[in-house]
């Protein structure tokens, strides 16, 4: 894991280490406030690490299932939505993941997608039915590539590790502030004046840390999340060799979004677009898990090729600074952008010829959004155990809920019996 993150971006690891230091410092401060004894700092720091470890263990065992369950996601099979499945397979190959992630569908009209799973060999990609309804194949491929990028870059593990640190810091600081409120530290045994003065200074430092640490941890966490979003965009562009697909998908996603029904702030960094409506302080860029959409689109549109280096250059032009680690850039080398998929959505054989787009036959008429929405809903229903029966007489298709499976013998519209 660390190797992957390091080659992508060393800075993320420094940030994580910084958060660890903050956690230990908060623990030490708590030790001081409880006992008033500088020696207790060691115990406080140790306690903080122990708390983090316990929380981490809890999340590691069964965290993904909680996440997917919380989002109301259902695993689908290839026959439920062949196109989505094929796209995930394509991106698995492009990213050279050891195994295809499981594919989940969330029945929600709000277009969004997220990745889960700490190890690339045991991961999942989930998309909403609303996403399938509005995106064409190229755009969907871009979104899936972004999510596979999160998996490949080990972002789930990184963000969960960081998220637990934020939580632990908040818990410790809260405990410390309460302790101070309830009557402060126990009087120390010593009565010498300088020692009392030093102790008071220490207490004030501890108090300041208790107030500042949770806020700082939050800000750092959000900044880390935003950087990993950019990186996942870069990976997505690299896997598809087609930044325009993801860019156009993001444009569609940024227009008039309704918030997702079942999400929490813990899972937010894993989505392709922020799942919750920003309000109040959350609308402020510093407190956002995701970079502004217009900026992400601008960077993708500015890319000259499809490599990490191209993304890094576009990033520097739009925002300044660097985003992708040098080692990743060097290893990936030069990567040309490919032309848009042709008539049948296939990679043109002349993938390296940028002008091929003009020669490609007229595009296949896109499925109407209504048809796509229906297709996506059907996929979700069959994955949830619904039975689909078509009537030979009137042509109506009935979707029978799992509780009535096998019990409906005649067509609900024309009462003709179904063939056995």
């Amino acid at each position: 894991m660390w190797e992957q993150i390091r080659s992508n971006e060393r800075r993320s690891l420094f940030v994580l280490a910084g958060m660890g230091v903050l956690l230990v410092a908060t623990g030490a401060a708590l030790g001081v406030t409880f006992t008033g004894d500088p020696e207790a700092m060691i115990f406080g720091a140790g306690g903080a690490l122990a708390l983090w470890l316990v929380l981490w263990m809890i999340t590691v065992t069964g965290g993904d299932q909680i996440l997917l369950g919380m989002a109301g996601a259902r695993e689908i099979e290839k026959k439920d939505h062949p196109q989505l499945f094929n796209i995930v397979e394509e991106m698995t190959i492009a990213a050279a993941l050891p195994k295809r992630p499981k594919v989940y569908l969330v029945d929600d009209p709000s277009p969004n997608a997220f990745a889960a799973g700490r190890e690339p060999g045991n991961a999942a990609v989930a998309v909403t039915t609303g996403l399938l309804a509005i995106l064409d194949r190229d755009e969907l491929q871009g979104v899936v590539a972004h999510e596979i990028g999160h998996i490949k870059n080990r972002d789930v593990k990184l963000m969960v590790t960081a998220g637990i640190m934020v939580g632990a810091i908040a818990m410790l600081a809260d405990m410390g502030r309460r302790a101070l409120w309830m009557g402060g530290a126990r009087r120390s045994r010593s009565s010498s004046k300088e020692e009392n003065g030093a102790q008071a200074a220490l207490m004030i430092a501890a108090l300041v840390l208790m107030i500042v640490a949770p806020l700082l941890a939050q800000l750092v966490y959000f900044a880390l999340s935003r950087r990993r979003e950019y990186l996942a965009d870069a990976s997505g562009a690299m896997f598809t060799r087609y930044p325009a697909g993801l860019a156009s998908a993001l444009e569609k996603l940024s227009g008039g979004r309704a918030p997702l029904a079942d999400t929490s702030s813990v899972t937010a960094p894993m989505y392709i677009v922020p799942p919750m409506r920003a309000h109040g302080a959350a609308a402020f860029a510093l407190f956002s898990t995701h970079p502004p959409m217009e900026e992400r689109v601008r960077i993708l549109r500015k890319m000259a090729g499809a490599s990490y280096t191209d993304y890094d250059r576009a990033f520097a032009a739009v925002k300044g600074g660097h985003i992708v680690g040098e080692r990743s850039q060097r290893e990936a080398g030069q990567v040309p952008r490919r032309a848009a998929f042709g008539a049948e959505g296939a990679l043109p054989l002349a993938a390296t010829v940028a002008t091929a787009a003009a020669a490609v036959p007229a595009a296949e008429p896109e499925l109407a959004p209504e048809a796509r929405r229906r297709q996506a809903n059907d996929a979700f229903l069959t994955a949830s155990g619904y039975e689909v029966r078509s009537c030979g007489a009137c042509g109506a298709t009935a979707k029978i809920p799992p509780s009535l499976r096998g019990k409906v013998k005649t067509c609900p519209r024309c009462s003709e019996p179904y063939p056995v």
């Binding site: 394509e90 049948e344 296939a346 054989l349 002349a350 036959p361």
Partner: protein, 184 residues
Amino acid sequence: MIGVWIGLGVFFLLVVWFISIYNGLVRLRNEKDNGWSQIDVQLKRRHDLIPNLVETAKGYMQHERGTLEAVIKARNAAMSAQGPKQVGQAEGQLGAALQGFFGLSEAYPDLKANTNFLALQEELSSTENKIGFARQAYNDAATRYNNAREVFPANMISGGFRPAELYVIEDAKERVVPKVSFGS
């Protein structure tokens, strides 16, 4: 005495260094080989899908026998091709034949409304993509592997690791997108 310990320490470090470089090279070589086998898997899948496709299209495209036969012929040639170079060429021709076929199918609305055909089309398009992405992933892995075995100091012990060849499209014909004319 202390000299012995230093010597032992240096020796130990050298062993650790050797193991880490050697294992790194093995890992990269496996990634590269895995990438190559992915290409094979997808090519085979394409061969398996084509008879179904032609069977479905036959009824609708009676006037395009030539195109259909060209697809079948290219497929059979690709299946019997031997060696990377021949395979590369034959597969390239098959890809071109398929593109020509799909271009023509645009002119047959009945065929385009056939759900079986649409499913096959999605399957084949996706297989085509997967071939492209597998090549891409193979080349990425091969580049990483080659770089790793050439840089100093790994090049002192990478003698047993043969350099990987990149998968390049050699045939000039494969580089151009086939022209599709709808007749008039």
